[in-house]
């Protein structure tokens, strides 16, 4: 009997906890489209990345807006090194006209 009561309490608690999520999942009026990344065919870094997308768009966004400029700066500096090696002056522009 005790075990049955325990199971019932767990089931009722779970229902109350999960009901709002079930309602959200059911979509209500005007709910936005939720895109979920399919991680089944992915592994390693790619799987980690798409899991993060599924779990938190906030962390996903924060990392994206950190990674984009960082990659930009790295590529910019690398290109600087290449241009210097070729012998192009990167600090002066002689043409002074409209």
């Amino acid at each position: 009997m005790k075990a049955l009561w325990k199971k019932m309490i767990v089931a009722v608690t779970a229902m109350f906890l999960l009901m709002p999520m079930a309602a959200f999942a059911a979509g209500g009026g005007g709910a936005g489209i939720v895109i979920v990344a399919d991680t089944r065919k992915l592994s390693g870094l790619m799987a980690w990345w798409s899991n993060m997308y599924n779990e938190s768009h906030l962390y996903f966004t924060l990392l994206t807006i950190i990674i984009i400029p960082t990659v930009g700066v790295i590529f910019g500096v690398l290109a600087d090194i290449v241009m210097h090696f070729i012998g192009i002056d990167l600090k002066h522009r002689d043409l002074a006209e409209h």
């Binding site: 939720v34 895109i35 990344a37 399919d38 991680t39 065919k41 992915l42 790619m46 799987a47 990345w49 798409s50 997308y53 768009h57 906030l58 996903f60 966004t61 994206t64 807006i65 990674i67 984009i68 400029p69 990659v71 930009g72 700066v73 590529f75 910019g76 690398l78 290109a79 241009m83 070729i86 012998g87 192009i88 002056d89 990167l90 600090k91 002066h92 522009r93 002689d94 043409l95 002074a96 006209e97 409209h98």
Partner: protein, 351 residues
């Protein structure tokens, strides 16, 4: 040949990754040279490679932020970026963009707005193209008149001089924009950026295509400074846009980074090419790009009247944009290589 394809982790589509690099190189060159994001070229390109439209826009904006950063770094070293002007303009751009976007939502509630937006875009681009070639023609007339009088036209002379009239407005506070060489009311850049931001908001574009000529013809910026300062603006708005689209789950960072590999090279070529091409050379090439854009929009409007022509006009628009990207990139690259060769040879001759 499976290794040439990569599975995108978020959108779940398989993409030909060398295509992303090639696209990145092309728009990197054009963006670094003209000072714009180039969304009108990239978004259809990504769509052709297989991205759903929603992901194409978000991915384009994310790569645009990184690419503009690279170009801004380069232009900054050449002294082409007026950071003070850029920062003042951000205020007007953001406010104008929000007003424009709200206005479009209001218009959408009234009825179909897509066609109206395309027509406004078309008229605006036609005006920009006219402005560029009218300016070029007027400057050439000045050159001919000076040559007839046995003189040489001033290097800083321009064809259209609307900015001189606008600079006469002396509403305080006045600002010195040293890099651009402008002394004007602070309200002028705020007004110009509000106007261009408002138009960009209405048209749903980044705005570089409008802001670059506005900086030249309304603010009176030298062409190179207009290009550099516009890229600074594109970089900031691109980061904001990337954050916004990514939060909505519409950015494929892996694709953006692959594109950045190409765009990093392209942006360098485009930015360095401005060192070797005169301001009016940049204006003429920009005018031609705008004409290409006009034709592609006309091709997209034709099916509204002749629905049976849709398949043909879509193919033509795609080939036109691709052809334009290839032709402009090739022209800019050739000019950059020629200029670099001359510079290196001159250095060697000096010892």
């Amino acid at each position: 040949m499976d290794w040439l394809y990569i599975l995108m982790p978020i959108s779940g589509v398989t993409i030909f990754w060398p295509g992303l690099i090639i696209l990145g190189v092309g728009v990197g060159i054009i963006g670094g040279f003209f000072g714009m994001g180039g969304a009108w070229m990239v978004t259809p390109g990504l769509n052709i490679l297989g991205f759903p439209m929603a992901f194409a826009i978000g991915t384009d904006i994310a790569h645009m932020a990184g690419k503009s950063l690279i170009s801004t770094m380069r232009h900054g070293k050449f002294g082409n970026v007026d950071y003070k002007l850029g920062l003042i303009m951000i205020v007007g751009t953001v406010a104008g963009f929000e007003v424009g976007a709200q206005m479009i939502m209001w218009l959408e509630r009234l009825g179909s707005v897509d066609k109206v937006v395309r027509y406004i875009y078309l008229v605006l681009l036609a005006f920009i193209a006219w402005m560029v070639f009218h300016d070029v023609a007027k400057r050439r007339a000045k050159q001919r008149a000076a040559a007839a009088a046995g003189q040489e036209v001033d290097k800083l002379a321009t064809g259209i001089e609307w900015h001189k009239t606008l600079h006469k407005i002396k509403i305080p506070p006045m600002v010195h924009l040293n890099v651009a060489g402008i002394y004007c009311s602070a309200w002028l850049p705020i007004f110009v950026s509000f106007l261009t931001g408002w138009l960009a908001g209405i048209l749903g574009i980044g705005g570089g295509l409008i802001r670059m000529p506005a900086l030249i013809y309304l603010m009176g910026c030298p062409t190179h400074v207009a290009v550099g300062t516009d890229l600074f603006e594109v970089m900031i708005s691109g980061l904001y846009g990337a954050g916004s689209y990514t939060y909505k789950g519409r950015t494929e960072l892996v694709a953006a980074i692959i594109m950045l590999i190409g765009a990093a090279m392209g942006a360098q070529v485009g930015s360095v090419a401005t060192k070797y091409i005169k301001g009016y050379g940049i204006r003429i090439a920009f005018g031609l790009a705008v004409i290409g854009c006009i034709i592609s929009i006309i091709l997209k409007l034709i099916p509204n009247y002749f629905p049976e022509a849709k398949a043909a006009t879509d193919i033509m628009a795609t080939w036109l944009i691709n052809g334009l990207v290839v032709a402009l990139s090739a022209y800019i690259t050739v000019k950059m290589v020629q200029g670099a060769k001359r510079e290196i040879a001159a250095k060697k001759a000096r010892g």
